[in-house]
Symmetry: D3
Subunit: 74 residues, 6 copies
Amino acid sequence: MPLINVKLIEDVFTPEQKKQMIEKITDTMVEIEGENMRSVTWVFIEDVKQGDWGIGGKTLKASDVHSLQKGQAA
Amino acid sequence: MPLINVKLIEDVFTPEQKKQMIEKITDTMVEIEGENMRSVTWVFIEDVKQGDWGIGGKTLKASDVHSLQKGQAA
Amino acid sequence: MPLINVKLIEDVFTPEQKKQMIEKITDTMVEIEGENMRSVTWVFIEDVKQGDWGIGGKTLKASDVHSLQKGQAA
Amino acid sequence: MPLINVKLIEDVFTPEQKKQMIEKITDTMVEIEGENMRSVTWVFIEDVKQGDWGIGGKTLKASDVHSLQKGQAA
Amino acid sequence: MPLINVKLIEDVFTPEQKKQMIEKITDTMVEIEGENMRSVTWVFIEDVKQGDWGIGGKTLKASDVHSLQKGQAA
Amino acid sequence: MPLINVKLIEDVFTPEQKKQMIEKITDTMVEIEGENMRSVTWVFIEDVKQGDWGIGGKTLKASDVHSLQKGQAA
């Protein structure tokens, strides 16, 4: 505790970006809670398969999220 | 918000059935909450590996669920 | 299995609406998976406290969601 | 998507600290994924009751976590 | 890691029973994974509100579960 | 209900060990809650990918956990 779970759609982010998420979210939490809490601050990522995540009922592929990142309508 | 998470055993349902689940659960939620909530209604599915789900301690494979669907004892 | 988890913000919906969500999501799932799966279709709702859910970093109270439902900017 | 869930023990952090967690984790994610993803970056916090979280089988109260924060053995 | 999450309906079990669950599930895990893993074995319990859990669409109160425990139809 | 979710890092445990976790956690729960609750006691395991779990910001591979099991620093 604290425990942070991040859900992403698979193949949207690179392994390097996922590593950054884990490191930076941990640092962010430790800034708020204090350095002594670092060893009990756990962050883990889970990938949801492409097509298995719907926003407003519309399912998303990695390419849809990439379009969204570029400011194009998904 | 609302956020709906569906856990299934992998290989029990087809991609088409999973797409239907996402669309129809979204529609069901929107009927209750109002159409303006559609864009913030998220539904995502996660598959649990065959053999990694136990009911009463008995682990299930996709074939066990298919038997259950047909009304045969799993 | 299947297992459906619904996360809401507390005090947005009435107990009657929550009951409808459980019943209608179950019915929706059973339509897709077959009537024999009804007894192993579980739906449960969890409330997140007001102020503890952020969209784009902006935290939401029940009143914000009610505004959104009416088509007013949250 | 992305969806970030933070689990804490209740009464360890103040409402202001929880608000900071939501804002800063969102900002951290947006730095990695790009500003266009902000509106679909959701962060929500759930509190676990005191005594209902065990590390190595030893259950924790808020006071135990406060001791840990100060560098005292929990 | 490992991380074990237990969901119950509130007011079904006593605090003492919940403490036992945390201790005994931890011991069970440590028997399988080895004693060195104890400190990174986390077990936490979350309560779902009465009426917010449905089996086959039928919502359950604590009294329904107590009937089930006694072998009476819920 | 009860519902128990176990998160592991993939490739740390064998299929046989995972089967034991499901069986023994179920038995542990049934000892506390009573034998009549067995059929509504569900345990399922989810694997998190190697490298996607961080403790204190340090990501773990299966080999790190194996070192930890042997009492070597991860």
